[in-house]
């Protein structure tokens, strides 16, 4: 490592240089971004964790209605808090690989239908009980039970049975699935004593922090669990999450030193915040993306030429710059980007008014096209729709933009109206993303994309244990969605968090915001 690089990476670790600036400097020295990133991670580790203190996060996405029952989680704060006090069998690492957590190791039968997970011994719940394979089985049973109303019910649908066998738990699947370990990382599938059947919201898990404060929508807190089983996380003595839904208040809390980490820094103020001394912007490319969705089975969108016209009429670069201020990457009319395993690059679709006009004319459509949008569809969705309107106008396509109220948008507009703005948080694997929203029978097939051949490819890829073959199938599926699907993807958004310069141990993790959700467990406070 050159001296200069070493100096730079140490500066980042000490909080003197932002990660972005470092990558810029490293690129100037001719270092590839991936290598620079790993340098950064090792510099952060070399610096060494500091134990003790209270690490505090100020977060958007909490409400008085939140519960500690993992089955009910659907917003940021309960999910993030859950990451600190409970654990799954498998956890996906920052580089996107499933890593052992409460399961020590696992293996699949040749047909990928039977999976055996060896459950870790000697792990304690916060109530002192030892975690057993029976608890794992009970957890899976509870989330499979329709009465539990679990957000993971859809995932559990593919599992025929879960049985304990000594220290192992055996999953038998209805259909082959090479991605089962990824599915078990799902944040709902937190292992609870007796699966949480006795008291789902008891808040007892095996995580590094034990719950001490639970004021939903206000303040959540935990203290280090003395008998925690591993030593690569849980450095602070106490953690605290303060729910700060107002963006300005969140920023000022970080500046004022009342919290050490905040989530969701708005792209338009990132440049301003960067100038504040003692504050570090942490942004990472994720799998979340913004979409305009057209129903492939509803006129006029049942015409692929019209869909193609709409795809060519979108100026992705402009939107990325104006809506996300460049904190993201352009989409290619699929839900998949390079953050996914087994990704294959495709030709990037560009803004092309001529092609848009050509396909528009070919579609035979006349009159305006109604696009519904709302403030809640994604941050900046109303502005984005207006940009879209302007770029489409240059191709001779009239978009009529209708702004819908945020209240009830998800129940009345999204997945109901034929053309609307929305977002997807992304999934750990291509299989999950496609199964969730592009499979014919999926509940959230929000583009009404019904293709038998596509479904068959999805199943074939799922049961294929050979990586190269899988990759090829996914490439073909991506091509179909890009050229014939109803999804118009302007961009993938970065996760933008910010920390105070005192926070150590931050590594980019694109699985979710806040370091994949592990910020409070894996970071520490430098004295």
């Amino acid at each position: 490592m050159s001296n200069e690089l070493e100096f730079l990476s140490r500066s980042v670790a000490a909080g003197k240089l932002s990660r972005r600036d470092f990558l810029g400097r490293a690129a100037a020295l001719g270092v590839a971004a991936t290598f620079a990133n790993s340098l950064l991670a090792s510099a952060a580790k070399a610096e060494g964790p500091v134990k003790g203190g209270i690490l505090r996060a100020g977060m958007q996405g909490g409400a008085a209605t939140d519960s500690l029952d993992p089955a009910s989680w659907s917003s940021q704060v309960p999910y993030f808090f859950g990451r600190q006090w409970a654990e799954q069998l498998v956890q996906i690492s920052a580089d996107g690989e499933p890593k052992p957590a409460l399961a020590e190791e696992w293996g699949a039968s040749d047909d990928a239908k039977t999976w055996t997970f060896k459950i870790r011994k000697g792990v304690q719940f916060h109530n002192g009980q030892e975690m057993t394979p029976a608890d794992v089985v009970a957890t899976m049973e509870r989330h499979s039970d329709e009465k539990a109303k679990s957000g993971a019910l859809g995932l559990m649908g593919g599992i025929a049975s879960v049985k304990a066998d000594g220290q192992n738990v055996v999953f038998t699947l209805k259909d082959a699935n090479a991605d089962l370990p990824f599915l078990l990382d799902d944040y709902h599938l937190m292992i609870q004593p007796n699966g949480g059947k006795d008291k789902p919201d008891a808040g007892i898990g095996t995580g590094p922090y034990k719950i001490t404060v639970n004021e939903a929508g206000v303040r959540l807190g935990g203290e280090k669990f003395a008998n925690y089983w591993r030593d690569d996380r849980g450095f602070a003595d106490q953690i605290e999450i303060i729910v700060i839904n107002d963006a300005t208040a969140r920023t000022s809390a970080l500046q004022g030193g009342q919290v050490d980490i905040i989530n969701r820094v708005e792209p338009k103020i990132v440049e301003l915040i960067k100038r504040v001394p003692g504050v570090v912007i942490q942004n990472v490319a994720g799998r979340g993306h913004y979409v305009f969705i057209a129903h492939c089975n509803t006129a006029p969108f049942d015409n692929n030429d019209l869909r193609l016209a709409l795809k060519y009429a979108l100026d992705r670069d402009e939107m990325l710059q104006k809506i996300l201020m460049g904190y993201g990457s352009v989409g290619n009319d699929t839900p998949i980007n390079k953050a996914y395993p087994l990704f294959t690059e495709m030709e990037q679709r560009k803004y092309d008014p001529d092609k848009a006009a050509f396909h528009y004319k070919k579609s035979g459509h006349s009159g305006s096209v109604l696009l519904r949008t709302s403030d809640v569809a994604f941050p900046g969705a109303v502005d984005a729709a207006q940009l879209y309107q302007q770029s489409a106008a240059k191709a001779g396509i009239t978009l009529e933009v209708k702004r819908e109220p945020g209240d009830g948008y998800w129940s009345e507009v999204w997945n109901k109206q034929p053309f609307s703005a929305s977002y997807w948080g992304g999934r750990p694997t291509q299989d999950q993303m496609y199964s969730t929203a592009y499979y014919s029978k999926a509940d959230w097939n929000d583009t009404r994309f019904f293709r038998d051949d596509f479904d068959k490819m999805l199943f074939a890829a799922r049961s294929e244990l050979d990586k190269d073959k899988r990759k090829k199938i996914y490439a073909d599926m991506g091509q179909i969605v890009r050229d014939e699907g109803g999804v118009i993807t302007p961009m993938f958004n970065d996760f933008i968090d910010a920390t105070s310069a005192k926070v150590g141990g931050w590594v980019p993790d694109g699985n979710q915001e806040m370091m994949g959700g592990y910020a409070l467990s894996k970071c520490w406070l430098n004295a």
Partner: protein
């Protein structure tokens, strides 16, 4: 009933209760026409039809509206506000803490703002049309004209970010030491004070000035009383009814109208609690909070009425 005051007061209270009943019908009807569906909102974007149907069944959303109204009213009358749909917590218990927080903030804002407003009003009258009067009125008007969120952000910018004297977020919790709690609410209480001050001050000034035109004030002046004595002994007591009215209105605002301030300062009060539950379509909570707000509003207005009645000597000493 012999005493006309008692009769009037009893009438007011009865009227208030009737009004509250009418409001309860309105609140219930209002929550029924909110767009969207409770079950859908609880489960969010990721709800499956099966999970929706299960939840709807369990929440009793399939019964007719009037049955749900009487079931709800019966519960309220027996002190049972029901269970929150979204978090399954007892509403009365959850609201208790939030209401206490709201009252705590309102109390300290009132303790500062009401005497301050009245004293400033009296000073403005004493030195009316002079520079003191103009300065007081000008500053008070300026603070009222600024939207409350802007006042809030200004306070945060200077006191929390720049000088770091007070915390910018006012999270309070049970078992927090009293002094820390006071420190936490310093900024929101100041913001609220600035918002309500001008209204009360200007009304005090106007009400007293109005009385100052009366013949008996002239008499008092001719007797040789000092200007402050005149205001204290003769003008203020006769202007008390409108002042109490405006004070009560502002007190009600401090309790029911502080949603914006609560959001900006992240203060865990009733407003924030209500907003969270409206967003989740948690109807029982919205109804309960709406009813409490209505009760506070009606109650304070009754107190204002009664105080005005008592302050009226013609009613206090009937012929």
């Amino acid at each position: 009933m012999a005493n006309p005051i008692l009769k009037l007061i009893a009438q007011r209270i009865a009227l208030g209760l009737l009004l509250l009943l009418a409001v309860s019908v309105l609140i219930f009807a209002g929550t029924q026409i909110l767009p969207g569906d409770v079950a859908q909102s609880i489960l969010g974007q990721s709800a499956t039809p099966q999970a929706l149907a299960n939840l709807r069944q369990e929440l009793g959303l399939n019964d007719p509206a009037y049955i749900r109204y009487f079931r709800w009213l019966g519960g309220v009358l027996t002190g049972d506000l029901g269970t929150a749909l979204s978090s399954r917590q007892d509403i009365a218990h959850a609201i208790g803490g939030r209401l206490w927080n709201t009252l705590f903030l309102a109390f300290w804002a009132a303790i500062v703002s009401i005497p301050l407003a009245i004293i400033l009003g009296l000073l403005a009258v004493r030195y009316r049309n002079g520079w003191i009067d103009k300065t007081i009125s000008g500053l008070a008007l300026a603070s009222t004209s600024l939207p409350e969120f802007f006042v809030g952000y200004l306070l945060v910018y200077f006191f929390a970010v720049k000088w770091q004297i007070f915390p910018g977020i006012s999270t309070v919790y049970d078992g927090m030491p009293f002094l820390e709690r006071m420190k936490a609410i310093a900024l929101p209480a100041t913001a609220l004070t600035l918002v309500v001050l001008a209204h009360m001050m200007r009304m005090t000034r106007a009400a007293i000035l109005n009385v100052m035109q009366s013949a008996y004030i002239e008499t008092a002046e001719l007797k040789g009383l000092s200007p402050f004595e005149i205001i204290r002994k003769h003008a203020f007591p006769n202007a008390i009814a409108p002042i109490i009215n405006v004070v009560m209105l502002n007190l009600a605002f401090l309790i029911v109208g502080v949603v914006v301030i609560e959001v900006i300062f992240v203060y865990p009060g009733m407003g924030q609690y209500l907003v969270d539950h409206v967003a989740k379509r948690d109807v029982p909570v919205v109804q309960a909070v709406g009813l409490i707000f209505a009760a506070v509003y009606i109650g304070l207005n009754i107190i204002a009425d009664i105080a005005a009645i008592i302050a009226n000597p013609r009613l206090r000493h009937p012929k």
